[in-house]
């Protein structure tokens, strides 16, 4: 049967276990060059990959844990992605639409990053 330590472990894993929970707070996204982008957790959830991570059982403490490194994503691309997060949140209500501008020269890299992040 379960001992005290086990129970604690279980409990920790069970936390945040429903996908619908709204996280408060921020995450830090770090590009290949080391640039740090701090975004709301809600914005980060636009990416399915990040969302899966953030809502997996076993919460992350705000301070140290909430950072993610992307050694393969360059700074301008990561920046664009963060912009996209906020654009998506803003216009997802569907009331008004505006185009998300994508500079042609970054499209390929952006597409790959988008694929990786499932955004």
């Amino acid at each position: 049967m379960l001992g005290k330590g086990e129970a604690a472990g279980q409990a920790h894993l069970h936390k945040d276990d429903d996908g619908g929970e709204q996280p408060s707070g921020v995450v830090k996204l770090i590009s290949a060059e080391g640039f740090e982008f701090v975004v709301d957790k809600k914005a980060a959830m636009v990416s399915n990959t990040l969302r899966n991570m953030l809502t997996s059982p076993g919460g992350f403490s705000e301070t140290r844990e909430g950072e993610v490194r992307f050694p393969e994503i360059s700074t301008p691309i990561l920046e664009k992605i963060c912009q996209y997060f906020y654009w998506s949140l803003h216009y997802s209500s569907g009331k008004e639409t505006s185009e998300f501008q994508i500079e042609p020269e970054i499209t390929l890299e952006l597409m790959m990053a988008a694929n990786y992040l499932d955004t």
Binding site: E6, H12, M53, S56, G58, G59, F60, L108, L110, D118
Partner: protein, 693 residues
């Protein structure tokens, strides 16, 4: 965003298309350009698009001067294995730090890279297989043994814990391996990751252990049935597994658990019923049955799946009630007949409630009800018979009284059992029918020579004429009349008595007592049938116009005028008339006068006397006309020709014995006779008449 990006890319890369010249080429990515031009707009890339992606990744990395390192399968898997082991440790409760976001992304990225490498380093298939193997390995090495060495309730608890763990493991691993779901799995229509994980548990654990689990659960349920306390939450969780493991279908729950539960329930209650039917009286048995049904229903609410409710209750009802219906209902001193006899309404209500749920369960009860009522009615008939035949001959005039008593009793009987039908049997048609048929049986029996119908007819007659020995309100009279449908019955009765006479109802001579509720007090009005009919119209509306009254009563204007006059312009103003004068005109409107009052509690409202005299005079005139005609014709026939004056004089003399005719009338009759070709005027002398043959 992938779709937005690919759309943008498409436009950028349409360099070669003259239609879109305004994109200036930047950078040189010939391979990517040509390939990505075929990328779809959909969120997930097509197979070709995916290949392009892969190629682009390589070329981009090459351009940036970094070769993306190919991850070897062994190496990559070893890394994943570390993560999986960490997860297992956490689940087993070993001291192990939580996954950091770094850990997470690393694991995810490893899979991602291994899946987006160029062949032969695209390890999607291998990773998919290893994913499954991870579960299988963990289950067989850790989970199965822990379950195998436990039994009964302990085993159930372990199972619940292990299932919960398993679900967590599936969730984590499927997220690490998520990239497989997106392209590899969907492209080849393979089983998705989550389902693979759950199926492992089902195939390796559930299938082996389900029999034991089912047995343990049912044992606990039976324990609870015997009154012991059990852990309901545990059962709820265990049964939850049966439902969830069906992966969307209820098959596992139904086949591996519910079927057995139903069988066990049947056996359990069959046994109980066998002893109860012998030991308990009918009401007690029914109370127990009702309690059992209640408990089983609660059971569903506490831990069974809702879909079991209907089937479970049916089994219980079948074993306790349907199987034992006859012995139960026919129990000597406490069965249906006894309950009816002893007026046990609550028990009868319970009986109805219980048996109404069984197919054709109510029929025997309705039959018993019918028999009982018939017996009671027949007993009354016999009673009346006996007292009638026991009477001394000189008291024959008391026969009327006895029969009245008999009819009253019949009415009481009817009232009593109508109440039973409405309340105990909730107005079910089967019971209405039974009551009706019962009454039909004994109403056709005779009492001292007269049929019940005749007695009822006499009864009605008495009511209508004298208002009988007991004071009756109008409602009671109406009820009584309704019950016996007296008009029909009386008609039939009259027909049987006097075959050659025609029965004509003289409505104008009937009287009626009406209770009128005025504001001050209720006064009984004694009125004729017609007046009553008119007053009853005001039950439906407060105000009626003259024309409405005429239409609804369907009487002649003269009659209506008389009626309205008696009610609104005479001594007692039951109705208010607008305008409030003393004559009735077709434009009048009438309203019920709620403010009317009188010091008497009962008043008679007479109709104004018909102007009889006028009528009489009219009639007499008519008769006289014929007499005059006859006389004139007689005279002219014998004389053939006569002057006017002479004719009139002769006529008067002839009729002098009877009456003195009016000269004008005679003249008129002569004119009439001329037009009817009995007489004619002489051509040269208008004053002389000739008889026409």
């Amino acid at each position: 965003m992938a779709s937005a990006a690919s759309a943008a890319l498409l436009s950028y890369l349409s360099l070669s298309f003259p239609l879109l010249p305004h994109y200036s080429p930047r950078g040189t990515q010939p391979h990517a350009a040509a390939a990505a031009a075929s990328a779809e707009k959909a969120a997930s890339l097509s197979p070709l698009g995916f290949r392009c992606l892969r190629a682009a990744a390589a070329s981009l990395a090459a351009m940036a001067g970094q070769e993306r390192r190919t991850i070897d399968l062994e190496e990559g898997w070893a890394f994943m294995q570390k993560g999986i082991t960490k997860l297992k440790n956490i689940l087993e409760g070993k001291p192990e730090p939580q996954f950091s976001s770094e850990d997470y992304m690393m694991l995810y990225t490893t899979i991602y890279n291994m899946c987006t490498q160029k062949p032969p380093h695209d390890y999607s298939q291998q990773l998919y297989d290893k994913y499954r193997e991870s579960f299988e390995e963990y289950i067989t090495s850790m989970v199965l043994p822990s379950l195998r060495d436990k039994h009964d309730e302990f085993m159930l608890r372990e199972l619940v814990k292990r299932w919960s763990n398993h679900k967590i493991m599936v969730r984590w691993l499927s997220r690490f391996f998520f990239y497989l779901d997106r392209y590899f799995i969907s492209r080849r229509s393979l089983t998705p990751l989550e389902q693979v994980g759950l199926t492992c548990f089902r195939d390796l654990i559930y299938q082996e252990i389900k029999g034991q689990v089912k047995g343990a659960v049912i044992a606990l349920i039976d324990k609870e049935r015997e009154g012991e306390q059990i852990d309901r939450a545990l059962l709820k969780n265990v049964l939850g597994i049966f439902v969830e493991i069906g992966l969307g279908s209820m098959e596992c729950y139904e086949n591996d658990f519910e079927d057995f539960l139903l069988k066990d329930t049947t056996d359990y209650y069959s046994l109980k019923a066998q002893s109860w039917i012998l030991e308990d009286s009918c009401p007690d048995y029914m109370i127990k049955a009702e309690e059992c049904l209640k408990k089983e229903k609660e059971r569903v609410g506490h831990y069974l799946h809702i879909s079991s409710e209907q089937k479970l209750l049916e089994k219980v009802q079948n074993e306790l009630l349907a199987q034992y219906a006859t012995p139960l209902l026919e129990k000597e001193h406490s069965g249906c007949f006894a309950l009816l006899r002893d007026d046990k309404e609550e028990d009868l209500s319970r009986m109805y409630r219980l048996f109404s749920k069984i197919t054709r369960g109510l029929e025997p009860i309705a039959n018993m009800f019918k028999t009982h009522v018939t017996n009671e009615g027949t007993a009354l008939v016999k009673q009346a018979e006996d007292s009638a035949s026991n009477k001394k001959p000189e008291k024959k005039d008391m026969v009327g009284m006895q029969e009245q008593v008999f009819v009253w009793k019949i009415i009481e009987l009817h009232d009593k059992y109508v109440a039973y039908v409405t309340e105990c049997f909730q107005g079910h048609t089967l019971f209405h029918k039974a009551l009706k048929e019962a009454f039909e049986v004994f109403c056709n029996k005779g009492v001292s020579g007269s049929s019940s119908a005749e007695l009822l007819a006499t009864f009605c007659d008495n009511i209508l004429k004298k208002g009988c020995s007991e004071k009756l309100s109008d409602e009671a009279i109406e009820d009584a009349l309704e019950k016996v449908k007296c008009v029909e019955v009386f008609k039939e009765f009259y027909q049987t008595r006097t075959k050659h006479r025609k029965l004509t109802w003289i409505y104008s001579l009937g009287t009626c007592n009406i209770n009128a509720k005025f504001e001050a007090k209720t006064i009984e009005l004694i009125v004729t049938t017609y007046q009553a009919a008119l007053l009853l119209l005001f039950n439906g509306s407060d105000r009626l116009s003259y024309s409405e009254i005429v239409t609804q009563l369907n009487l002649s204007d003269d009659d209506v005028v008389r009626l309205l006059h008696s009610l609104s312009c005479a001594k007692y103003k039951i109705l208010n008339k607008e305008p409030a004068n003393r004559s009735i005109s077709p434009n009048d409107v009438f309203e019920f006068n709620s403010k009317f009052t009188d010091r008497m509690r009962r008043i008679k409202i007479p109709l104004p006397p018909v102007d009889e005299k006028k009528k009489v005079v009219e009639d007499v005139d008519k008769d006289r006309r014929y007499a005059i005609d006859a006389s004139i014709v007689r005279i002219m026939k014998s004389r053939k020709v006569m002057g006017h004056q002479q004719l009139v004089a002769e006529c008067v003399e002839q009729l002098s014995r009877m009456f003195k005719p009016d000269f004008k009338a005679i003249k008129k009759r002569i004119e009439d006779l001329i037009t009817r070709d009995y007489l004619e005027r002489e051509k040269d002398n208008a004053n002389v008449y000739r008889y026409l043959a």
